[in-house]
C-alpha cells in the first residue's frame, strides 16, 4: 500500500482557517494593506460604473416622485411588482450577514471570523437598498413617515398595528439599526489599529475620530465581549423575525399562491440561501484583488457552499410543500396557480428559470470539486442570485396577474423606470461596497488575530506563536507605500 496511515489521516484534516505562519504583525500589515495602498485602476473603474449607476438610480427616483407611481409598470391586478420583488430580494440578501456574524458566533463556528465584517457591511448596504422600495411604493414618499411611524401628526390618526405591513416597518427598521450598531461596535478596535498604524496626520485624525479614543483597555474588553455576545444573541431571533414578517406580508392575505403556512421558514431559508450566494459573488473577486487569500481560504468558501446547499434544500422542500398542499387542499384557485398559471402560463419561462437556478444548480455542491473550484462556486452563486430574484417575481407577479376572476386578469411588463431602479440599486450597493473595501478594514483584524492566537495555542499545547519583532513607528513608515 502506498498510502500510509498518516497520509490517510492528513486527508481527513480540515483545510486551514489561516494559511501560512502568521503573527499579529504580519496580519496587521496584510489585512490593512488595501487601505494604505493607492487605489488600483480596477477599483477606480468600478467606482465610476457605480457612480454612473447611482446617478441613474437617483434620476429614476426623481421621475417616480415627480410624475408619480404611474411611471412604473404596476397595474391592477399586479399592484405589487418590481417595488416589492426588489424589496424582498435585497432584504433577503442582507440576512446572510447577520447569520454569519451572529448565529455562527453563537454556534462557535470559527470560520466566520474572517468573513463576518464583509458580510455585515453587505447586510447594511442591502437593507438600505431594500428600504428605498416600499417608501417609493407609497407613491408620496414625503408622507411615508406619517403613514409608517406612530408620529403624532395633525391627522390625529395612528397606524393600524394589526397589519403585517406595519410589523414590517418595525422589523426592518429595528434590523437596520441593530446591524449598524453591531457592525460599528466590531469596527472600533480595528479603527483604532488603523489610527495607530497610520503615517499621515489626516488618516490618524480621521480614523481617530471614528475609533472614539479606544485604547484596548482590559477594563473595556471585559464589557465589550459581553456586549458583543448579547448583541449577537438579540440579532439571532431578530433576523428570523424579519423575514418571517416579510413572508406574512403575503401569507396573511387570502391570495392563492400567498396564503400558505410554509411561508415563514421557507422565506427565512431562501433569504439565507440568496445572502450566502451574494457573499460568495462579492468575496471571490475581493479576496483575490485585496490579497486576502491567506485569511479567506478554500475552507471558508467550502463552508459557504455547504450552507447554500443546505438552505437550498430547505427552499426546495418549501416548493414541494406549496405544490402538495395546493393539490391536497382541493381548492381550485390554489390548484390553478400551482398547476396551470406557474408551469403553463405566460410567465412559465420565469418559473422554469427559478427551478433551474434554485433547485438544479445548487445540487452540484454535493461534489467536493464543485465546492473547491472558484469558477463553479462563483457561477453557481450568481445563478442562485438570479434564481432567487425570479422566485420573488413568481410569487408576486404570477400569483397576482391571474387571480380569481378571468375578467380581472392582466399581464405585467416592467417599464424602463422599473429597470433603472433595479439596475440603479445594484450599482449603488456596489458603490457603497467598494468605498467600504477601500476605507475600512474589510476583515475583522482584531478577531483574526485572536483566532490566530487560539489556533497556535491549540496546536498540541505548544505555543507556536513566534515572537514578532515589534512594529515601531519607523518600521511602519518603511512598510507603507
Amino acid at each position: 500500500m502506498s498510502e500510509t496511515a498518516i497520509d490517510a489521516r492528513a486527508a481527513l484534516r480540515p483545510l486551514p482557517l489561516v494559511e501560512g505562519a502568521q503573527d499579529d504583525g504580519t496580519l496587521n500589515k496584510t489585512l490593512n494593506a488595501y487601505v494604505w495602498q493607492p487605489p488600483q485602476r480596477g477599483w477606480l473603474a468600478l467606482v465610476l460604473i457605480g457612480l454612473a449607476g447611482t446617478g441613474m438610480l437617483f434620476a429614476a427616483i426623481t421621475i417616480t416622485i415627480a410624475k408619480g407611481i404611474g411611471m412604473w409598470g404596476n397595474n391592477i391586478p399586479v399592484a405589487w411588482a418590481f417595488g416589492i420583488i426588489n424589496f424582498v430580494w435585497w432584504i433577503g440578501i442582507g440576512h446572510a450577514g447577520t447569520l454569519i456574524s451572529a448565529i455562527l458566533l453563537l454556534f462557535q463556528q470559527k470560520w466566520r471570523t474572517s468573513i463576518n465584517r464583509f458580510a455585515e457591511a453587505m447586510t447594511l448596504f442591502a437593507v438600505l437598498q431594500a428600504a428605498l422600495y416600499p417608501v417609493l411604493h407609497t407613491g408620496r414618499p414625503w408622507f411615508a413617515i406619517y403613514w409608517l411611524f406612530p408620529y403624532p401628526s395633525t391627522n390625529a390618526i395612528w397606524p393600524q398595528f394589526k397589519s403585517p405591513l406595519m410589523w414590517d416597518v418595525f422589523a426592518v427598521s429595528t434590523y437596520f439599526i441593530t446591524s449598524l450598531l453591531f457592525w460599528y461596535l466590531g469596527l472600533i478596535p480595528d479603527l483604532a489599529s488603523l489610527r495607530d498604524s497610520s503615517t499621515s496626520r489626516r488618516a490618524r485624525v480621521t480614523y481617530g475620530i471614528f475609533a472614539l479614543g479606544w485604547r484596548g483597555s482590559a477594563r473595556h474588553w471585559h464589557h465589550y465581549k459581553i456586549a458583543y455576545l448579547l448583541l449577537a444573541g438579540l440579532a439571532t431571533p431578530l433576523v428570523l423575525s424579519v423575514h418571517t414578517i416579510v413572508s406574512w406580508d403575503f401569507a396573511l392575505s387570502i391570495l392563492p399562491g400567498w396564503h400558505t403556512t410554509i411561508f415563514p421558514p421557507y422565506f427565512v431559508a431562501g433569504a439565507v440561501f440568496s445572502g450566502f450566494a451574494m457573499v460568495l459573488t462579492l468575496m471571490i473577486p475581493a479576496r483575490r484583488f485585496m490579497g486576502l487569500k491567506h485569511v479567506i481560504t478554500p475552507r471558508h468558501l467550502e463552508s459557504m457552499a455547504k450552507v447554500m446547499l443546505c438552505t437550498g434544500l430547505i427552499v426546495d422542500y418549501g416548493y414541494l410543500m406549496e405544490h402538495f398542499i395546493a393539490w391536497y387542499s382541493g381548492n381550485v384557485y390554489e390548484q390553478y396557480v400551482f398547476f396551470v398559471t406557474r408551469p403553463k402560463g405566460p410567465y412559465a419561462w420565469a418559473y422554469y428559470l427559478q427551478l433551474l437556478c434554485n433547485v438544479v444548480v445548487p445540487q452540484m455542491y454535493w461534489l467536493k470539486w464543485a465546492r473547491r473550484n472558484i469558477w463553479t462556486l462563483w457561477i453557481g452563486a450568481v445563478l442562485i442570485n438570479v434564481g432567487m430574484w425570479f422566485e420573488r417575481f413568481n410569487i408576486i407577479v404570477t400569483s397576482l396577474h391571474q387571480d380569481f376572476i378571468p375578467s380581472n386578469w392582466a399581464m405585467y411588463y416592467p417599464t424602463w423606470v422599473d429597470l433603472s431602479l433595479l439596475g440603479g440599486t445594484i450599482c449603488f450597493f456596489g458603490l457603497l461596497f467598494l468605498l467600504f473595501l477601500k476605507f475600512l478594514p474589510a476583515v475583522a483584524v482584531s478577531e483574526v488575530k485572536e483566532l490566530n492566537h487560539e489556533l497556535h495555542e491549540g496546536a498540541a499545547g505548544v505555543s507556536l506563536h513566534t515572537p514578532a519583532a515589534p512594529l515601531h513607528a519607523g518600521e511602519l513608515e518603511a512598510t507603507e507605500p
Binding site: 503573527d23 395612528w158 393600524q160 394589526k162 478596535p189 495607530d196 482590559a218 459581553i226 438579540l234 423575525s241
Partner: protein
C-alpha cells in the same frame, strides 16, 4: 498630576501573568491593553462582573412593555378604528411589534451604555497616548499600566514592572 507607569510585553500570556503578579504584589490602579481580548485577564486583574447584561435586560423589558402599550393606547384607546368588527385590542397582533421594540431598546441600551458609560468614550485624550510607542497596543504588543499620583512611587513601580517581565518600561505624565 497623574502618572502612568507603562510596561510592554510581546506575549499575551506573559502579559496576563505579569498583571496577576503585580496585582498580588499590591500594585493599585492597574490596567492592561491589548489588540484583542486577553484570555484570563479579567481574573488576573480581579475585575468585577460586567453590568451590561442587567442593562440589556432592563432595556429589553421596558422596550417590550413600551411597544405593547403604544399599540394598545393608539389602536384601542386614542383612536379606535373598526375593521371588520375585529377586537380593538388585538393581543396576538400586537406581539410582533412588542418583540421588535423589545429588541430595539435592548440593542440601543447595550450599545450606548457600553460606549458612554462602561468604556467612557468618546474621549480625545488619555495620558497613555503620551507614549508614542503605545501605538503597538492596538497592533501587536500587550501593555500594563499602573496609575499613581505620587511621583516618588514611580521608581519602585518601574522596578516591579521590570521584575514582572516587561521588555520595556517607562512612565508618562498627564499633560494638563
Amino acid at each position: 498630576m497623574r502618572r502612568f507607569v507603562l510596561g510592554e510585553f510581546s506575549q499575551p500570556d506573559a502579559c496576563v501573568q505579569a498583571a496577576r503578579k503585580l496585582r498580588e504584589g499590591g500594585v493599585a490602579g492597574l490596567d492592561a491593553y491589548s489588540p484583542y481580548p486577553l484570555h484570563g485577564i479579567d481574573d488576573a486583574l480581579a475585575l468585577p462582573r460586567s453590568k451590561v447584561p442587567i442593562v440589556a435586560l432592563t432595556g429589553g423589558v421596558l422596550g417590550a412593555l413600551g411597544g405593547y402599550t403604544l399599540q394598545w393606547w393608539m389602536n384601542a384607546v386614542d383612536f379606535p378604528i373598526n375593521v371588520g368588527n375585529r377586537p380593538q385590542h388585538g393581543f396576538w397582533t400586537n406581539i410582533p411589534i412588542t418583540f421588535e421594540s423589545g429588541v430595539l431598546i435592548a440593542v440601543l441600551s447595550i450599545f450606548f451604555s457600553s460606549i458612554f458609560v462602561f468604556f467612557g468614550l468618546p474621549r480625545t485624550y488619555h495620558p497613555v497616548f503620551e507614549s508614542e510607542r503605545f501605538r503597538t497596543a492596538s497592533l501587536d504588543a500587550f501593555w500594563i499600566s499602573a496609575e499613581t499620583a505620587d511621583e516618588n512611587a514611580v521608581p519602585e513601580l518601574e522596578q516591579k514592572f521590570r521584575e514582572a517581565g516587561a521588555r520595556k518600561v517607562h512612565t508618562v505624565a498627564e499633560s494638563v
